[in-house]
């Protein structure tokens, strides 16, 4: 059985709790073990690392040291955590002096980080470790007729995501096809949603998200599926604000990729946290429309 040290990250506790619920439920259904890192802390996010480098890497490394002691690879669903934890590894591997500084800081908590722990994204685990045929074998409720725009966002593919192409990633596309869904062409699949600009400069972020919604609608998508808490929140929770700002009338459900996997596996929407979304994903009309021109 595959086992991973699970690092949910701060967003998955609250704003992205539907992501957390669905990842746990889907991994359980597929027989992959997730063991939450006990008393994990904030990875520091870009916000910390960009203004205080060594401190940022040191607090991020506490999580890595804890996972190292568990002897497992880390599964990190949040794009931002995924990138920060990987950057921390890269930084430590780059320069022994930097590694020494980080270990010196960890010593204050009686920890040390010596063996680099591999950081994995759940999408990578499902497609490359478990494999699409193993997923397909467990599909009991194929999503036939559902037209999905796969939205990867930035930080699972850039700056060095490691498991998919930086310009044209395909892991979600292939996964959704194996669930029976139809993947629409989505030229914005790696375009930025603005991230934290929704808090600091919302007029810029609202405009970026408008483009993402337009492209999905124009290509006939019934739902956008993403892998990032900030992308999901900006596109979904602020959709009303986008409509108000631009006079548009979008009502586009925005789910996590794991929601679609869970539904295809026959899991209950509540079990996947789908009831916590603001714009509900109603599968019935989508699936019923199958076969229509």
């Amino acid at each position: 059985m595959m086992e991973f040290a699970y690092y949910p990250g701060c967003s998955l506790e609250h704003t992205a709790s539907p992501y957390d619920k669905s990842i746990r439920a889907v991994f359980k259904a597929l027989g992959i073990g997730l063991h939450e890192i006990e008393d994990w802390n904030c990875c520091g996010a870009t916000m910390y690392m960009s203004v205080k480098k060594i401190v940022g890497y040191a607090i991020s490394a506490r999580n890595l040291a804890l996972a190292q002691n568990m002897g497992m690879q880390i599964c990190a669903p949040c794009s931002s955590c995924y990138t920060i934890l990987r950057k921390t590894n890269r930084h430590i591997a780059w320069d022994p002096r930097e590694r020494a500084k980080i270990n010196e800081a960890l010593k204050a908590a009686d920890l040390s980080y010596d063996t680099l722990v591999e950081i994995r994204h759940p999408l990578d685990i499902l497609v490359n470790d478990l494999g699409l045929s193993a997923v397909a074998a467990k599909v009991s409720n194929p999503l036939r007729g559902l037209r999905v725009a796969p939205y990867y966002g930035c930080q699972i593919v850039r700056p060095h995501g490691g498991f998919d192409d930086v310009d044209d990633p395909v892991h979600m596309d292939e996964l959704f096809q194996c669930l029976g869904a139809e993947v629409v062409p989505y030229p914005c699949k790696v375009r930025c949603c603005g991230g934290m600009l929704m808090t600091t400069q919302d007029e810029i972020a609202l405009a970026l998200n408008l483009k993402l919604l337009e492209a999905a609608t124009d290509n006939g998508a019934q739902v956008i599926a993403t892998a990032c808490p900030l992308c999901q929140m900006n596109l979904e929770a602020y959709q009303q604000k986008i409509n108000k700002a631009f006079g548009s009338s979008f009502r586009m459900p925005v789910v996590y990729f794991s929601h679609l996997v869970g539904l295809a596996l026959g899991l209950e929407p509540r079990e996947l946290g789908l009831d916590k979304l603001m714009i509900p994903l109603d599968l019935q009309p989508a699936l019923a429309s199958e076969g229509r021109p």
Binding site: E13, S50, K52, R90, K101, Q240, K276
Partner: protein
């Protein structure tokens, strides 16, 4: 006598030296010397249209000896960390990380763009993590808007209410059991110097 052409005013010289220290403190930071001024970074940046100085111009201004002018621009605080410039730069300059270097210098020297308090969010975030060990999203958002633009609180009431009612915005911060560990790590790491 120093060659006049190569001499910078004292303050600029200090900023330049801080910048060189910063770019040599992350992998491939030195590649900035290879900049061709091709503008791929600016062209690929989803936000460059809203910047007062574009990413390409940042490097040009540094070469011209105008670091202070860079720090007074909004650009480094507008970057959304999408890393498009970084993966597309034809000579491999780590542009996003370079902008972070400039952020650290700005924080250290206290040089910010006028009437553009976005750096406050970073400061609040850092305090948040020290206090709880995790990010308390609601507290961070509230404090940021209160200290920068309280009127914006009103336009976010609807969003906050629907998130709270769905249990997606925690009202009470969760503190780590061993928050003292985090604080000890932060205190020790801070001894390596601000920005480092």
């Amino acid at each position: 006598m120093a060659n006049r052409v190569l001499t910078f005013p004292k303050e600029e010289a200090e900023l330049r030296s801080a910048f060189w220290d910063q770019v040599s403190s992350f992998p491939e930071g030195h590649k900035i010397k290879l900049c061709l001024q091709c503008g791929t970074c600016t062209g690929t940046c989803p936000i460059s249209y809203a910047m007062d100085i574009t990413p390409r111009q940042i490097i040009a201004l540094f070469r011209a000896g105008l670091v202070e002018q860079i720090l007074e621009s909004r650009t480094i605080w507008l970057c959304a960390s999408c890393y498009s410039c970084t993966v597309r730069c034809p000579v491999g300059i780590r542009i996003t990380d370079t902008l972070y270097s400039l952020k650290r210098i700005a924080m250290e020297k206290g040089i910010y763009p006028r009437q553009f308090p976005v750096h406050t969010l970073s400061r609040l975030f850092v305090n948040n993590v020290y206090r709880y060990g995790r990010n308390f999203e609601l507290g961070l958002g509230l404090k940021y808007l209160l200290s920068t633009n309280p009127l914006k609180l009103f336009s976010n009431v609807g969003y906050a209410f629907s998130m709270i009612s769905r249990g997606r915005l925690g009202l009470i911060p969760r503190r780590l059991k061993r928050v003292k560990q985090i604080r000890a790590i932060i205190t020790r790491a801070n001894q390596f110097g601000e920005g480092q």
